[in-house]
Amino acid sequence: MVEMVTRPYARAFEQYAMTHPEVLCLSADLTSSCEVDGFRDRHPDRFVSLGMAEQNMMSFAGGLGLAGFRPFLHTFGVFLYRRPYDQLVASVAYPRRRVRLMGFLPGLTTPGGMTHQAIEDVSVMRSIPNMTILETGDATEVESICEAADSIDGPVYCRVLRGSVPRLFDTPIRVGRMRELSAGSDVLVVTAGITTEEALRARSALASAGVSIRHVHLNTLKPFDPAPLLDQLASVRHGVVTMENHVTEGGIGSLVAEVMADHGVGKRLVRLGLKDTYAHGGSRPYLMRHYRLDASALVAGIEGLVGHPFGITDADLEAVRIEAAHSLAKAEAL
C-alpha cells in the first residue's frame, strides 16, 4: 500500500524555518489552508500576517528581501500571480529578491472552481525573467521543497501539494534533475505534479498491453536544461506524451515542444491537459476525469501515438493503482 503522508508541508516548513533565521512565514489569511497554522501558533515572532491583500504582500515581501530576509509567501497559487502580477514583476522578479512563493492548490486540486484554480500559473511564471519554478509531485518532494526553493538566489514559485499526499519517491528534490521512473523504448511520458501519480496508475496496464513506456517526472520547470530530455527523446521509437495539471499552452507540454523544435527532434508529441478551457468546481477525481488528465486519458493519448487501442479499461487502471505506486521504489532506483 502506498504511504499517505498527512500535511507534509506543515512539518517540513517548521523544521526548515527553525534552522534558518532569515526565513519568515508570510500569510494572506489562508494560514491553515496552507498548513502553517501550527507554525503561526508556535512561532508567532516568525509569522507575518498580511491579511487579504496580496498586492501589498508581494511588494512587502520585496521590501523584506531588500532588508535581507527570505520571506516564504503562503497562499493559493492563483493568488500569487493573477491579482498581484504587477507587484510580482516589479517588486520581486525584476530585482531578483529571494522571495519564495509557495502556491498551494495547483490546477485542479481544488474544488473552488475558476477563481481558485491556478491553471495557467506555469505559463505565466515561465515567461517572467529571473523566475525559478518548482513543482511537487509527492510527499517527499513537498518535504524537500523548502530547502530546494531556498537554495535559489532569486525568486521561486512552487506548486505545493497539501493535505494527504502519497509518497512516491524516496529521495528529495534535486533542483534541475528530472526523475526517470521507467526506461522503456516505445513512448516517452513526461509528467509533473499530480499527473505523475496518474501515469503510474496506468503503468502496469500499459506493460501488460506490451507497450514499453519511458517515464520522466519533472520537478524543476524553470530553468530547464534540455540535454537530459533530448537523451530521453532519443531513446523512444514513437514519440512523447505530456500530461499536465495545467493548460496545454505554456506549461510542460509547451516546454517539451520548444525543446523538440529548437533541436529539430522530428517525433510526434501529444499534449494532455486543459485544452484552452477553464474548469469548474468539483472533486479532484471528477475534474481529472472530466477534463481528461487522468490515467485513462494518458492511455488514450498513448494509443493515439502508437496507432492502435490496447483494450485497457478503467477497471484495469483502478486495480493497479496501489501496486503501481508501491513498485515505484524499484523503478526509481534505476
Binding site: 507575518v48 500576517s49 498580511l50 491579511g51 491583500a53 498586492q55 501589498n56 508581494m58 511588494s59 512587502f60 515581501a61 520585496g62 521590501g63 523584506l64 528581501g65 531588500l66 532588508a67 535581507g68 530576509f69 504587477d86 507587484q87 516589479a90 517588486s91 525584476y94 530585482p95 531578483r96 525573467p129 529571473n130 538566489d153 532569486g154
Partner: protein, 313 residues
C-alpha cells in the same frame, strides 16, 4: 540645530531654488519636462536631502555610469542607484522614491546637494543611459522600481518591518505623490504598516492635486485624505509643502506605534507663476510653439532670478 549641520554648504531654500532652476533649464533646452513636479516638490526634496535624511556619502561615481543591464543571474555588474544616497548601513535612513516620473527632479536634487555631478543630467533620457526619464532602480537615487505607482509604500513597509526586526536604527522614508491614493495597493500598504505598528516608516506626500489627466478632483476624487489616512492607522500631519519650517516641525511629530504620513500641500506652479496658465494640464510641460517657449523662458527665468536659457532652435 542638527539639521543645519548635515549640509552646511547651502541653505535648504537655496537648494530648493537650485532644483527649480535646474529643472527649468532642462525643460526649456529639451522643449519639455516634468516642470510642475519641480514646482511642487522642490522644498520637500531639498529638505529631505539637505536636512532630514541621515545618509552616508555616495558610493557611486559622480557622473553615472551607462546602463549596465538588468538584474540577472549572469549580470555581475548590476547595481541599483541607491549608492547615490550612500551605503545601506544600519544607522542610515533609506529612501523609497515612489513617483518615478519625478526622476528629473530627483536627479536635480542629487546635483544640488553634491551627490551627483551636473554633467550627469546631460544623460537624462539618452539611449543607453542609466539616468532614465522614468526612474528605474538603476537610476541615481533609486533603490527599487516604482514606475508602477502604488508599490512604493508597501515596499517601504516591508523594508521597515525587516529593519526593525534587525534592530537597525535607520528609518525608512517613502516619497509619494497624492495620485497614488487612487491605487488600492497604497491603502493595503498603509493598513499593513499600521497593523504591524511600523513607526520607523515615514511617508512624505506631495499633495499637488495633479495627475496625468489633469486636476485630481476631475479624474477621481479621493476626498478627505487626511481623515482617510488617519482612519487607516497612520499619524497624519498636514502642512504647507513650501514652508520649510512646517516640514521640519512635521517630522518632529511623535508617532509611537504608527507610521507617520506628512501631507505636503503644494502648488504645481510654485515659483514659476507663468505655468498657472497651463493649469490643470501640468503633468508634462511641452511648449506649443517657439513663441510660447521663448515667453516662458523669459518669464520663468526672471522669477527664478536667472538669465533666460540659451537653447538651440
Amino acid at each position: 540645530m542638527e539639521t543645519a549641520a548635515r549640509n552646511p554648504a547651502r541653505s535648504t531654500a537655496e537648494v530648493a531654488l537650485g532644483i527649480r532652476r535646474r529643472v527649468f533649464e532642462h525643460t526649456v533646452c529639451n522643449n519639455g519636462g516634468y516642470l510642475s513636479q519641480a514646482c511642487s516638490s522642490a522644498e520637500q526634496l531639498a529638505w529631505l536631502y539637505n536636512e532630514e535624511l541621515r545618509l552616508g556619502a555616495p558610493t557611486l561615481p559622480m557622473i553615472p555610469e551607462p546602463f549596465v543591464g538588468v538584474p540577472s543571474a549572469g549580470n555581475l555588474r548590476y547595481h541599483t542607484g541607491a549608492g547615490y544616497n550612500g551605503p545601506p548601513d544600519p544607522q542610515y535612513d533609506r529612501l523609497i522614491f515612489a513617483p518615478a516620473h519625478y526622476a528629473l527632479v530627483a536627479y536635480s536634487t542629487l546635483i544640488e546637494v553634491g551627490r551627483m555631478a551636473p554633467e550627469g543630467l546631460l544623460q537624462f533620457n539618452k539611449d543607453g543611459s542609466s539616468v532614465e526619464m522614468i526612474g528605474a532602480e538603476h537610476s541615481p537615487g533609486m533603490e527599487v522600481h516604482n514606475g508602477t505607482l502604488g508599490v512604493g509604500l508597501s515596499t517601504g513597509a516591508g523594508l521597515a518591518f525587516g529593519r526593525r526586526r534587525k534592530g537597525e536604527p535607520g528609518r525608512v522614508w517613502v516619497y509619494m505623490s497624492d495620485g497614488e491614493l487612487q491605487e488600492g495597493q497604497t491603502w493595503e500598504g498603509l493598513q499593513a504598516a499600521a497593523h504591524h505598528r511600523l513607526d520607523n516608516l515615514h511617508a512624505l506626500m506631495d499633495v499637488n492635486a495633479q495627475q496625468c489627466d489633469g486636476a485630481m478632483d476631475s479624474v477621481m476624487e479621493v476626498r478627505d485624505m487626511k481623515a482617510k489616512l488617519a482612519a487607516f492607522g497612520a499619524r497624519v500631519v498636514e502642512v504647507d509643502g513650501h514652508d520649510l519650517a512646517a516640514l521640519r516641525q512635521a517630522a518632529r511629530e511623535e508617532h509611537p506605534g504608527q507610521p507617520l504620513v506628512i501631507l505636503a500641500r503644494t502648488s504645481p506652479y510654485q515659483g514659476m507663476s507663468w505655468l498657472k496658465r497651463r493649469f490643470p494640464r501640468l503633468h508634462y510641460v511641452r511648449f506649443s510653439s517657439e513663441a510660447e517657449r521663448a515667453e516662458a523662458n523669459r518669464a520663468i527665468a526672471a522669477e527664478l532670478g536667472v538669465a533666460p536659457v540659451e537653447y538651440a532652435h
